[in-house]
Amino acid sequence: MAFEHVNIVGLILIFLFIFIFFYFLYKNKRNPNLYIRKILGIDAISDVCDYAGETGRPVSFCTGLSSVGPVLYASLGVLSFVAKKAGTFKNRLLIPQYTPEVMAIVEESVQEAYESINRGSLFDKKDIRFLSDEQFAYASGYIGMIKRERACATFLFGTFAAESLILAEAGQEVGAVQVGATISPEQVAFFIASCDYTLIGEELFAASSYLTRKPLEITSIYTQDKVKLFIFFIIIIGSVIATINQIYPDLNLHNLDYFLTIEI
Protein backbone atom coordinates (compact mmCIF):
# COMPACT_ATOMS: atom_id res chain seq x y z
CA MET A 1 0.00 0.00 0.00
CA ALA A 2 2.24 2.85 -1.21
CA PHE A 3 0.84 6.27 -2.05
CA GLU A 4 2.62 8.10 -4.86
CA HIS A 5 -0.42 10.34 -5.24
CA VAL A 6 -3.70 10.50 -3.33
CA ASN A 7 -7.22 9.78 -4.61
CA ILE A 8 -10.33 11.88 -4.17
CA VAL A 9 -11.18 10.42 -0.74
CA GLY A 10 -7.68 11.19 0.53
CA LEU A 11 -7.95 14.67 -0.89
CA ILE A 12 -11.19 15.31 0.99
CA LEU A 13 -9.63 14.03 4.22
CA ILE A 14 -6.61 16.36 3.82
CA PHE A 15 -8.74 19.44 3.20
CA LEU A 16 -11.07 18.43 6.04
CA PHE A 17 -8.00 18.26 8.28
CA ILE A 18 -6.78 21.72 7.19
CA PHE A 19 -10.31 23.10 7.70
CA ILE A 20 -10.55 21.68 11.24
CA PHE A 21 -7.20 23.29 12.11
CA PHE A 22 -8.19 26.78 10.96
CA TYR A 23 -11.68 26.42 12.43
CA PHE A 24 -10.19 25.74 15.90
CA LEU A 25 -7.62 28.52 15.39
CA TYR A 26 -10.49 30.97 14.76
CA LYS A 27 -12.54 29.60 17.71
CA ASN A 28 -9.58 29.64 20.14
CA LYS A 29 -8.67 33.22 19.32
CA ARG A 30 -11.91 34.27 21.01
CA ASN A 31 -11.85 32.15 24.20
CA PRO A 32 -8.27 30.97 24.88
CA ASN A 33 -8.84 29.20 28.25
CA LEU A 34 -9.86 25.79 26.96
CA TYR A 35 -9.35 22.60 28.96
CA ILE A 36 -6.07 20.71 28.61
CA ARG A 37 -5.46 17.92 31.12
CA LYS A 38 -2.43 18.06 33.40
CA ILE A 39 0.64 16.29 31.97
CA LEU A 40 3.10 15.60 34.80
CA GLY A 41 6.24 15.57 32.67
CA ILE A 42 5.60 19.01 31.18
CA ASP A 43 5.00 20.84 34.46
CA ALA A 44 8.39 19.52 35.50
CA ILE A 45 10.13 21.48 32.72
CA SER A 46 9.65 24.87 34.40
CA ASP A 47 10.41 23.44 37.88
CA VAL A 48 13.67 22.00 36.51
CA CYS A 49 14.58 25.39 35.03
CA ASP A 50 13.90 27.08 38.38
CA TYR A 51 16.02 24.45 40.17
CA ALA A 52 18.82 25.10 37.65
CA GLY A 53 18.47 28.80 38.38
CA GLU A 54 19.23 28.17 42.05
CA THR A 55 22.27 25.95 41.45
CA GLY A 56 23.68 28.26 38.80
CA ARG A 57 25.43 25.33 37.05
CA PRO A 58 25.06 24.96 33.26
CA VAL A 59 21.91 23.54 31.70
CA SER A 60 22.12 21.33 28.60
CA PHE A 61 19.48 20.92 25.90
CA CYS A 62 20.11 18.13 23.39
CA THR A 63 18.04 17.71 20.22
CA GLY A 64 19.55 14.26 19.58
CA LEU A 65 19.70 13.00 15.99
CA SER A 66 16.70 15.10 14.88
CA SER A 67 16.74 16.33 11.30
CA VAL A 68 14.65 19.22 9.98
CA GLY A 69 11.06 18.19 10.62
CA PRO A 70 8.03 18.35 12.91
CA VAL A 71 9.83 16.69 15.85
CA LEU A 72 12.59 19.29 15.74
CA TYR A 73 10.05 22.10 15.38
CA ALA A 74 8.20 20.91 18.50
CA SER A 75 11.49 20.60 20.40
CA LEU A 76 12.34 24.18 19.39
CA GLY A 77 9.21 25.31 21.24
CA VAL A 78 10.51 23.80 24.48
CA LEU A 79 14.09 24.97 23.74
CA SER A 80 12.85 28.54 23.37
CA PHE A 81 11.07 28.29 26.75
CA VAL A 82 14.17 26.82 28.44
CA ALA A 83 16.39 29.48 26.81
CA LYS A 84 14.22 32.26 28.20
CA LYS A 85 14.38 30.74 31.68
CA ALA A 86 18.16 30.25 31.38
CA GLY A 87 18.43 33.87 30.26
CA THR A 88 16.51 35.19 33.26
CA PHE A 89 18.49 33.03 35.74
CA LYS A 90 21.80 33.62 33.88
CA ASN A 91 22.54 29.88 33.51
CA ARG A 92 24.88 28.81 30.71
CA LEU A 93 22.85 26.86 28.13
CA LEU A 94 24.86 24.13 26.35
CA ILE A 95 23.30 22.84 23.12
CA PRO A 96 25.35 19.97 21.51
CA GLN A 97 24.49 19.58 17.81
CA TYR A 98 24.41 16.61 15.40
CA THR A 99 23.39 18.09 12.02
CA PRO A 100 24.82 21.37 10.63
CA GLU A 101 21.48 22.45 9.14
CA VAL A 102 19.65 21.86 12.45
CA MET A 103 22.42 23.80 14.24
CA ALA A 104 21.64 26.85 12.10
CA ILE A 105 17.94 26.63 12.96
CA VAL A 106 18.64 26.12 16.67
CA GLU A 107 21.10 29.05 16.75
CA GLU A 108 18.56 31.39 15.20
CA SER A 109 15.75 30.25 17.49
CA VAL A 110 17.81 30.54 20.71
CA GLN A 111 19.14 33.97 19.74
CA GLU A 112 15.57 35.23 19.28
CA ALA A 113 14.49 33.71 22.59
CA TYR A 114 17.26 35.60 24.40
CA GLU A 115 16.43 38.83 22.54
CA SER A 116 12.72 38.47 23.34
CA ILE A 117 13.57 38.85 27.06
CA ASN A 118 16.18 41.47 26.07
CA ARG A 119 19.08 39.34 27.34
CA GLY A 120 20.70 39.34 23.88
CA SER A 121 24.11 40.02 25.40
CA LEU A 122 24.00 36.79 27.39
CA PHE A 123 23.65 34.66 24.27
CA ASP A 124 27.02 32.93 23.68
CA LYS A 125 27.43 31.29 20.26
CA LYS A 126 30.18 29.03 21.57
CA ASP A 127 27.72 27.18 23.79
CA ILE A 128 26.00 25.84 20.67
CA ARG A 129 28.58 23.19 19.88
CA PHE A 130 28.67 21.01 16.78
CA LEU A 131 29.98 17.63 18.00
CA SER A 132 29.68 15.23 15.08
CA ASP A 133 27.24 13.87 12.53
CA GLU A 134 28.14 10.29 13.47
CA GLN A 135 25.84 8.77 16.10
CA PHE A 136 28.43 7.42 18.53
CA ALA A 137 31.02 10.19 18.09
CA TYR A 138 28.16 12.53 19.05
CA ALA A 139 27.39 10.37 22.12
CA SER A 140 31.08 10.31 23.10
CA GLY A 141 31.35 14.10 22.80
CA TYR A 142 28.08 14.61 24.70
CA ILE A 143 28.98 12.46 27.74
CA GLY A 144 32.45 14.06 27.93
CA MET A 145 30.92 17.55 27.83
CA ILE A 146 28.23 16.78 30.43
CA LYS A 147 30.79 15.32 32.84
CA ARG A 148 33.30 18.16 32.41
CA GLU A 149 30.77 21.00 32.55
CA ARG A 150 28.92 19.24 35.44
CA ALA A 151 25.52 20.16 34.04
CA CYS A 152 22.83 20.38 36.72
CA ALA A 153 19.86 19.88 34.38
CA THR A 154 19.65 18.16 30.99
CA PHE A 155 16.86 18.09 28.43
CA LEU A 156 16.79 15.32 25.82
CA PHE A 157 14.15 16.32 23.26
CA GLY A 158 13.84 14.94 19.71
CA THR A 159 14.73 11.81 17.74
CA PHE A 160 17.03 9.29 19.42
CA ALA A 161 18.40 5.87 18.55
CA ALA A 162 20.44 3.26 20.42
CA GLU A 163 22.71 5.91 21.97
CA SER A 164 19.83 7.40 24.02
CA LEU A 165 20.72 5.32 27.11
CA ILE A 166 24.37 6.48 26.95
CA LEU A 167 23.26 10.14 26.98
CA ALA A 168 20.72 9.58 29.77
CA GLU A 169 23.02 7.54 32.01
CA ALA A 170 25.87 10.06 31.68
CA GLY A 171 23.52 12.81 32.88
CA GLN A 172 22.35 10.53 35.67
CA GLU A 173 25.93 9.88 36.78
CA VAL A 174 26.69 13.60 37.10
CA GLY A 175 23.58 14.01 39.25
CA ALA A 176 21.67 16.18 36.77
CA VAL A 177 17.88 16.43 36.83
CA GLN A 178 16.80 15.05 33.47
CA VAL A 179 13.73 15.47 31.28
CA GLY A 180 13.62 13.09 28.31
CA ALA A 181 11.15 13.21 25.42
CA THR A 182 11.18 11.16 22.23
CA ILE A 183 8.68 9.67 19.82
CA SER A 184 10.40 6.30 19.21
CA PRO A 185 8.83 3.82 21.67
CA GLU A 186 12.05 1.76 21.97
CA GLN A 187 13.98 4.72 23.42
CA VAL A 188 11.15 5.79 25.75
CA ALA A 189 11.79 2.62 27.79
CA PHE A 190 15.39 3.76 28.41
CA PHE A 191 14.36 7.34 29.24
CA ILE A 192 11.89 6.02 31.82
CA ALA A 193 14.77 4.09 33.37
CA SER A 194 17.32 6.90 33.46
CA CYS A 195 15.50 10.22 33.40
CA ASP A 196 13.59 11.87 36.24
CA TYR A 197 10.73 12.91 33.94
CA THR A 198 9.80 11.35 30.62
CA LEU A 199 7.45 12.60 27.92
CA ILE A 200 6.15 9.81 25.72
CA GLY A 201 5.46 10.19 21.99
CA GLU A 202 3.04 13.03 21.32
CA GLU A 203 3.53 14.54 24.79
CA LEU A 204 6.66 16.04 23.23
CA PHE A 205 4.47 17.92 20.76
CA ALA A 206 2.04 18.96 23.50
CA ALA A 207 4.92 20.27 25.64
CA SER A 208 5.53 23.55 23.78
CA SER A 209 1.78 24.17 23.55
CA TYR A 210 1.24 23.42 27.25
CA LEU A 211 4.03 25.75 28.33
CA THR A 212 3.04 28.82 26.31
CA ARG A 213 -0.78 28.29 26.28
CA LYS A 214 -1.25 30.67 23.30
CA PRO A 215 -4.30 30.25 21.03
CA LEU A 216 -2.23 28.82 18.20
CA GLU A 217 -0.73 26.22 20.52
CA ILE A 218 -4.07 25.22 22.00
CA THR A 219 -5.36 24.79 18.46
CA SER A 220 -2.59 22.29 17.69
CA ILE A 221 -3.57 20.12 20.64
CA TYR A 222 -7.28 20.29 19.80
CA THR A 223 -6.74 19.39 16.15
CA GLN A 224 -4.41 16.58 17.22
CA ASP A 225 -7.06 15.13 19.52
CA LYS A 226 -9.87 15.44 17.02
CA VAL A 227 -7.90 13.62 14.29
CA LYS A 228 -6.88 10.95 16.79
CA LEU A 229 -10.50 10.50 17.88
CA PHE A 230 -11.43 10.06 14.22
CA ILE A 231 -8.74 7.39 13.79
CA PHE A 232 -9.74 5.80 17.11
CA PHE A 233 -13.23 5.13 15.71
CA ILE A 234 -11.86 4.17 12.28
CA ILE A 235 -9.89 1.37 13.95
CA ILE A 236 -12.96 0.20 15.88
CA ILE A 237 -15.13 0.21 12.73
CA GLY A 238 -12.38 -1.48 10.73
CA SER A 239 -12.07 -4.25 13.30
CA VAL A 240 -15.82 -4.75 13.38
CA ILE A 241 -15.85 -5.11 9.58
CA ALA A 242 -12.95 -7.55 9.77
CA THR A 243 -14.85 -9.57 12.40
CA ILE A 244 -17.97 -9.64 10.23
CA ASN A 245 -15.85 -10.77 7.29
CA GLN A 246 -14.62 -13.64 9.44
CA ILE A 247 -18.06 -14.74 10.65
CA TYR A 248 -19.83 -14.34 7.29
CA PRO A 249 -17.00 -14.85 4.80
CA ASP A 250 -19.26 -14.90 1.75
CA LEU A 251 -20.33 -11.32 2.42
CA ASN A 252 -16.69 -10.16 2.03
CA LEU A 253 -17.34 -6.52 2.68
CA HIS A 254 -14.69 -4.06 1.53
CA ASN A 255 -12.79 -2.79 4.51
CA LEU A 256 -12.21 0.92 5.02
CA ASP A 257 -8.86 0.94 3.21
CA TYR A 258 -10.72 0.15 -0.03
CA PHE A 259 -11.98 3.77 -0.16
CA LEU A 260 -8.42 5.12 -0.20
CA THR A 261 -7.49 3.10 -3.24
CA ILE A 262 -10.53 3.51 -5.51
CA GLU A 263 -9.83 5.61 -8.60
CA ILE A 264 -12.66 7.86 -9.73
Binding site: F3, H5, V6, L11, I14, F17, I18, V68, P70, V71, Y73, L76, G77, S80, F81, Q97, P100, E101, M103, A104, S109, E112, A113, S116, K125, K126, I128, F130, S132, D133, E134, F136, A137, S140, R148, A162, E163, L165, I166, E169, I183, P185, F190, I192, A193, S194, I200, G201, E202, L204, F205, A206, S209, K214, L216, E217, S220, Q224, V227, K228
Partner: protein, 329 residues
Protein backbone atom coordinates in the same frame (compact mmCIF):
# COMPACT_ATOMS: atom_id res chain seq x y z
CA UNK B 1 11.90 44.56 8.78
CA UNK B 2 8.53 43.16 7.85
CA UNK B 3 9.38 42.93 4.10
CA UNK B 4 12.14 40.47 5.03
CA UNK B 5 9.77 38.55 7.32
CA UNK B 6 7.17 38.47 4.54
CA UNK B 7 9.79 37.18 2.06
CA UNK B 8 10.83 34.45 4.50
CA UNK B 9 7.20 33.40 4.97
CA UNK B 10 6.55 33.28 1.22
CA UNK B 11 9.71 31.20 0.66
CA UNK B 12 8.58 28.78 3.35
CA UNK B 13 5.09 28.58 1.88
CA UNK B 14 6.32 27.96 -1.68
CA UNK B 15 8.69 25.21 -0.47
CA UNK B 16 5.79 23.44 1.18
CA UNK B 17 3.30 24.15 -1.61
CA UNK B 18 5.36 22.36 -4.25
CA UNK B 19 5.60 19.10 -2.33
CA UNK B 20 1.96 19.36 -1.19
CA UNK B 21 0.74 19.79 -4.78
CA UNK B 22 3.08 17.06 -6.02
CA UNK B 23 1.32 14.65 -3.66
CA UNK B 24 -2.23 15.91 -3.98
CA UNK B 25 -2.52 16.63 -7.70
CA UNK B 26 -3.18 13.59 -9.90
CA UNK B 27 -0.59 13.19 -12.73
CA UNK B 28 -3.16 14.10 -15.39
CA UNK B 29 -3.47 17.67 -14.13
CA UNK B 30 0.23 18.51 -13.96
CA UNK B 31 3.01 16.01 -14.54
CA UNK B 32 5.39 16.71 -11.64
CA UNK B 33 7.31 13.49 -12.12
CA UNK B 34 9.38 14.95 -14.94
CA UNK B 35 10.91 17.58 -12.62
CA UNK B 36 10.40 15.84 -9.27
CA UNK B 37 13.71 14.06 -9.27
CA UNK B 38 15.73 17.18 -10.07
CA UNK B 39 13.77 19.34 -7.61
CA UNK B 40 14.29 16.84 -4.79
CA UNK B 41 17.97 16.78 -5.76
CA UNK B 42 18.02 20.58 -5.57
CA UNK B 43 16.71 20.55 -1.99
CA UNK B 44 19.20 17.84 -0.99
CA UNK B 45 21.97 19.95 -2.54
CA UNK B 46 20.84 22.94 -0.52
CA UNK B 47 21.00 21.11 2.80
CA UNK B 48 24.30 19.41 1.87
CA UNK B 49 25.87 22.81 1.32
CA UNK B 50 25.37 23.46 5.05
CA UNK B 51 27.99 20.78 5.84
CA UNK B 52 30.64 23.49 6.25
CA UNK B 53 28.76 25.00 9.21
CA UNK B 54 29.77 22.08 11.41
CA UNK B 55 33.46 22.44 10.57
CA UNK B 56 33.36 26.24 11.08
CA UNK B 57 31.69 25.79 14.47
CA UNK B 58 34.35 23.27 15.51
CA UNK B 59 37.15 25.52 14.27
CA UNK B 60 35.81 28.64 16.02
CA UNK B 61 35.32 26.88 19.34
CA UNK B 62 38.61 24.98 19.44
CA UNK B 63 40.85 27.63 17.85
CA UNK B 64 39.55 30.05 20.45
CA UNK B 65 40.59 27.56 23.17
CA UNK B 66 44.05 27.08 21.64
CA UNK B 67 44.80 30.76 20.97
CA UNK B 68 43.76 31.92 24.44
CA UNK B 69 45.26 28.75 26.05
CA UNK B 70 41.96 28.07 27.77
CA UNK B 71 41.30 24.84 29.72
CA UNK B 72 41.77 21.64 27.68
CA UNK B 73 43.41 23.52 24.79
CA UNK B 74 45.72 20.53 24.23
CA UNK B 75 42.70 18.35 23.44
CA UNK B 76 41.35 20.99 21.09
CA UNK B 77 44.69 20.75 19.32
CA UNK B 78 44.26 16.97 19.07
CA UNK B 79 40.79 17.44 17.64
CA UNK B 80 41.82 19.91 14.96
CA UNK B 81 44.96 17.91 14.08
CA UNK B 82 43.01 14.65 13.75
CA UNK B 83 40.37 16.51 11.73
CA UNK B 84 43.00 17.93 9.37
CA UNK B 85 45.01 14.69 9.03
CA UNK B 86 41.87 12.63 8.34
CA UNK B 87 40.76 15.19 5.74
CA UNK B 88 44.14 14.84 4.01
CA UNK B 89 44.10 11.01 4.14
CA UNK B 90 40.52 10.80 2.85
CA UNK B 91 41.10 13.33 0.08
CA UNK B 92 44.26 11.56 -1.11
CA UNK B 93 42.43 8.23 -0.99
CA UNK B 94 39.56 9.74 -2.99
CA UNK B 95 41.97 11.36 -5.48
CA UNK B 96 43.87 8.09 -5.92
CA UNK B 97 40.62 6.29 -6.63
CA UNK B 98 39.50 8.98 -9.09
CA UNK B 99 42.82 8.65 -10.93
CA UNK B 100 42.33 4.89 -11.24
CA UNK B 101 38.76 5.34 -12.47
CA UNK B 102 39.81 7.90 -15.09
CA UNK B 103 42.63 5.59 -16.31
CA UNK B 104 40.17 2.74 -16.71
CA UNK B 105 37.47 4.97 -18.23
CA UNK B 106 39.72 5.71 -21.20
CA UNK B 107 38.64 2.32 -22.56
CA UNK B 108 35.01 3.08 -21.74
CA UNK B 109 35.22 6.19 -23.93
CA UNK B 110 36.73 4.21 -26.80
CA UNK B 111 34.01 1.58 -26.35
CA UNK B 112 31.32 4.28 -26.69
CA UNK B 113 33.16 5.80 -29.65
CA UNK B 114 33.25 2.46 -31.44
CA UNK B 115 29.48 2.18 -30.98
CA UNK B 116 28.97 5.80 -32.14
CA UNK B 117 30.84 5.02 -35.38
CA UNK B 118 28.50 2.07 -35.98
CA UNK B 119 25.33 4.08 -35.17
CA UNK B 120 26.40 7.08 -37.30
CA UNK B 121 27.12 4.75 -40.22
CA UNK B 122 23.71 3.05 -39.86
CA UNK B 123 21.98 6.44 -39.62
CA UNK B 124 23.90 7.59 -42.67
CA UNK B 125 24.94 10.67 -40.65
CA UNK B 126 26.73 12.93 -43.16
CA UNK B 127 27.98 15.53 -40.68
CA UNK B 128 30.74 13.23 -39.45
CA UNK B 129 34.01 11.97 -40.99
CA UNK B 130 34.15 8.85 -43.13
CA UNK B 131 34.05 5.51 -41.31
CA UNK B 132 37.57 4.47 -42.26
CA UNK B 133 39.16 7.66 -40.91
CA UNK B 134 37.22 7.37 -37.64
CA UNK B 135 38.15 3.69 -37.28
CA UNK B 136 41.81 4.56 -37.88
CA UNK B 137 41.67 7.23 -35.17
CA UNK B 138 39.91 4.75 -32.84
CA UNK B 139 42.53 2.04 -33.38
CA UNK B 140 45.54 4.38 -33.04
CA UNK B 141 44.13 5.81 -29.78
CA UNK B 142 43.40 2.27 -28.54
CA UNK B 143 46.94 1.09 -29.30
CA UNK B 144 48.33 4.09 -27.42
CA UNK B 145 46.19 3.27 -24.34
CA UNK B 146 47.02 -0.46 -24.38
CA UNK B 147 50.74 0.33 -24.43
CA UNK B 148 50.16 2.40 -21.30
CA UNK B 149 49.19 -0.76 -19.40
CA UNK B 150 52.65 -1.90 -18.22
CA UNK B 151 52.24 -5.43 -19.44
CA UNK B 152 55.51 -6.67 -17.98
CA UNK B 153 54.25 -6.22 -14.40
CA UNK B 154 51.38 -8.66 -15.02
CA UNK B 155 52.43 -11.98 -13.54
CA UNK B 156 49.95 -14.72 -14.17
CA UNK B 157 49.67 -16.27 -10.70
CA UNK B 158 47.02 -13.88 -9.40
CA UNK B 159 43.42 -14.43 -10.58
CA UNK B 160 43.00 -10.71 -11.23
CA UNK B 161 46.05 -10.64 -13.51
CA UNK B 162 44.95 -13.77 -15.39
CA UNK B 163 41.56 -12.18 -15.98
CA UNK B 164 43.12 -8.94 -17.26
CA UNK B 165 45.43 -10.90 -19.59
CA UNK B 166 42.48 -12.81 -21.13
CA UNK B 167 40.39 -9.68 -21.69
CA UNK B 168 43.38 -7.90 -23.28
CA UNK B 169 43.88 -10.78 -25.71
CA UNK B 170 40.22 -10.68 -26.77
CA UNK B 171 40.46 -6.90 -27.32
CA UNK B 172 43.62 -7.37 -29.44
CA UNK B 173 41.80 -9.98 -31.57
CA UNK B 174 38.82 -7.76 -32.42
CA UNK B 175 41.21 -4.82 -32.92
CA UNK B 176 43.10 -6.75 -35.58
CA UNK B 177 39.77 -7.64 -37.25
CA UNK B 178 39.00 -3.95 -37.67
CA UNK B 179 42.53 -3.17 -38.81
CA UNK B 180 42.03 -5.61 -41.71
CA UNK B 181 39.31 -3.41 -43.16
CA UNK B 182 38.69 0.05 -41.70
CA UNK B 183 35.69 0.64 -43.98
CA UNK B 184 33.51 -2.06 -42.51
CA UNK B 185 31.88 -1.66 -39.09
CA UNK B 186 31.25 -5.38 -38.74
CA UNK B 187 33.42 -5.72 -35.66
CA UNK B 188 32.73 -2.35 -34.01
CA UNK B 189 29.95 -3.63 -31.74
CA UNK B 190 32.09 -6.61 -30.74
CA UNK B 191 35.06 -4.32 -29.93
CA UNK B 192 32.79 -1.96 -27.98
CA UNK B 193 31.54 -4.77 -25.68
CA UNK B 194 35.07 -6.08 -25.07
CA UNK B 195 36.40 -2.60 -24.36
CA UNK B 196 33.65 -2.00 -21.78
CA UNK B 197 34.59 -5.30 -20.15
CA UNK B 198 38.26 -4.31 -20.25
CA UNK B 199 37.56 -0.98 -18.49
CA UNK B 200 35.81 -2.80 -15.60
CA UNK B 201 38.50 -5.47 -15.25
CA UNK B 202 41.35 -2.96 -15.54
CA UNK B 203 39.81 -0.78 -12.81
CA UNK B 204 39.47 -3.75 -10.47
CA UNK B 205 43.05 -4.74 -11.29
CA UNK B 206 44.39 -1.26 -10.49
CA UNK B 207 42.38 -1.11 -7.26
CA UNK B 208 43.69 -4.56 -6.33
CA UNK B 209 47.30 -3.46 -6.92
CA UNK B 210 46.68 -0.27 -4.97
CA UNK B 211 45.59 -2.27 -1.90
CA UNK B 212 48.88 -1.93 -0.01
CA UNK B 213 49.83 1.62 -1.00
CA UNK B 214 50.83 4.00 1.81
CA UNK B 215 47.57 5.98 1.62
CA UNK B 216 45.49 2.80 1.91
CA UNK B 217 47.59 1.80 4.96
CA UNK B 218 46.99 5.21 6.60
CA UNK B 219 43.30 4.89 5.72
CA UNK B 220 43.18 1.47 7.46
CA UNK B 221 45.00 2.77 10.55
CA UNK B 222 42.59 5.71 10.72
CA UNK B 223 39.43 3.63 10.36
CA UNK B 224 40.15 0.03 11.44
CA UNK B 225 42.55 1.25 14.12
CA UNK B 226 40.73 4.23 15.60
CA UNK B 227 37.28 4.90 14.15
CA UNK B 228 35.58 1.47 14.07
CA UNK B 229 36.85 0.29 17.49
CA UNK B 230 35.76 3.64 19.00
CA UNK B 231 32.28 3.24 17.49
CA UNK B 232 31.98 -0.35 18.72
CA UNK B 233 33.31 0.47 22.19
CA UNK B 234 30.86 3.36 22.59
CA UNK B 235 28.08 1.03 21.43
CA UNK B 236 29.20 -1.63 23.92
CA UNK B 237 29.10 0.91 26.80
CA UNK B 238 25.37 0.24 26.57
CA UNK B 239 26.09 -3.18 28.10
CA UNK B 240 27.23 -1.44 31.31
CA UNK B 241 24.56 1.23 31.28
CA UNK B 242 21.76 -1.27 30.72
CA UNK B 243 22.74 -2.92 34.01
CA UNK B 244 22.83 0.29 36.06
CA UNK B 245 19.63 1.54 34.42
CA UNK B 246 17.90 -1.76 35.27
CA UNK B 247 19.06 -1.47 38.89
CA UNK B 248 17.62 2.06 39.14
CA UNK B 249 14.50 1.65 36.99
CA UNK B 250 13.10 -1.49 38.52
CA UNK B 251 12.86 -0.11 42.01
CA UNK B 252 9.22 -0.60 42.91
CA UNK B 253 7.96 2.91 43.62
CA UNK B 254 4.44 2.45 42.28
CA UNK B 255 2.20 -0.23 40.82
CA UNK B 256 3.38 0.92 37.39
CA UNK B 257 7.07 0.36 38.13
CA UNK B 258 6.12 -3.01 39.65
CA UNK B 259 4.41 -4.01 36.36
CA UNK B 260 7.39 -2.80 34.37
CA UNK B 261 9.80 -4.77 36.55
CA UNK B 262 7.65 -7.89 36.41
CA UNK B 263 7.43 -7.94 32.60
CA UNK B 264 11.18 -7.23 32.32
CA UNK B 265 11.89 -10.19 34.64
CA UNK B 266 9.63 -12.50 32.65
CA UNK B 267 11.39 -11.53 29.40
CA UNK B 268 14.87 -11.97 30.91
CA UNK B 269 13.99 -15.37 32.36
CA UNK B 270 12.64 -16.31 28.94
CA UNK B 271 15.97 -15.72 27.25
CA UNK B 272 18.53 -17.14 29.66
CA UNK B 273 19.62 -20.76 30.14
CA UNK B 274 18.64 -21.00 33.82
CA UNK B 275 15.21 -19.42 33.24
CA UNK B 276 13.92 -22.57 31.58
CA UNK B 277 14.92 -24.59 34.61
CA UNK B 278 12.46 -22.59 36.75
CA UNK B 279 9.50 -22.91 34.30
CA UNK B 280 9.72 -23.98 30.69
CA UNK B 281 6.85 -21.70 29.72
CA UNK B 282 8.97 -18.55 30.09
CA UNK B 283 10.32 -18.42 26.50
CA UNK B 284 6.84 -18.63 24.94
CA UNK B 285 5.42 -16.11 27.44
CA UNK B 286 8.36 -13.82 26.59
CA UNK B 287 7.58 -14.14 22.91
CA UNK B 288 3.89 -13.44 23.50
CA UNK B 289 4.66 -10.34 25.61
CA UNK B 290 7.06 -8.98 22.99
CA UNK B 291 4.79 -9.63 20.01
CA UNK B 292 1.12 -9.07 20.96
CA UNK B 293 0.72 -6.31 23.57
CA UNK B 294 4.00 -4.58 22.63
CA UNK B 295 3.08 -4.08 18.99
CA UNK B 296 -0.27 -2.65 20.14
CA UNK B 297 1.26 -0.16 22.59
CA UNK B 298 4.14 0.82 20.29
CA UNK B 299 1.76 1.33 17.38
CA UNK B 300 -0.49 3.57 19.49
CA UNK B 301 2.51 5.72 20.43
CA UNK B 302 3.85 6.02 16.88
CA UNK B 303 0.35 6.74 15.48
CA UNK B 304 -0.12 9.52 18.01
CA UNK B 305 3.29 10.92 17.10
CA UNK B 306 2.52 10.79 13.35
CA UNK B 307 -0.74 12.73 13.87
CA UNK B 308 0.90 15.34 16.09
CA UNK B 309 3.71 15.56 13.53
CA UNK B 310 1.21 16.23 10.77
CA UNK B 311 -0.36 19.10 12.73
CA UNK B 312 3.11 20.55 13.42
CA UNK B 313 4.01 20.18 9.73
CA UNK B 314 0.95 22.21 8.80
CA UNK B 315 2.18 24.97 11.18
CA UNK B 316 5.67 24.80 9.67
CA UNK B 317 4.26 25.11 6.17
CA UNK B 318 2.20 28.20 7.04
CA UNK B 319 5.02 29.51 9.33
CA UNK B 320 2.59 29.69 12.23
CA UNK B 321 5.15 29.87 15.02
CA UNK B 322 3.88 30.38 18.51
CA UNK B 323 7.35 30.53 20.01
CA UNK B 324 10.48 32.10 18.64
CA UNK B 325 10.16 34.15 15.51
CA UNK B 326 7.18 36.31 16.15
CA UNK B 327 6.70 35.25 19.75
CA UNK B 328 7.19 38.50 21.68
CA UNK B 329 5.45 37.44 24.88
Amino acid sequence: MNIKKLLIKTFTFIGGLYFFLEFVMPESVFDFDKYHESISNAFITMSCMAVGLGIINLMVLHLDRIVYKKKDYFFSLTLLLSLFITLVILSLDWYQNEKIVSKANKFLTLSKFSEVILDDEKAKNSKVLAVNIRNQKLISELEKDINLIDKNSININEAKERELKEVLERVEKSKDNIKKDYHSTKYNLNLSKRLRNLSIVYREYLQYKNKDSLIKKLYLICFDGFFNPLVMSMFSLLGFYVATAAFKAFKIKSFESFLMMLSALIVILGQVPFGVKIWNGFPSLRLWLLSVPSTGAFRAITLGAFIAGLVMALRMWFSLEGHEKGGKN
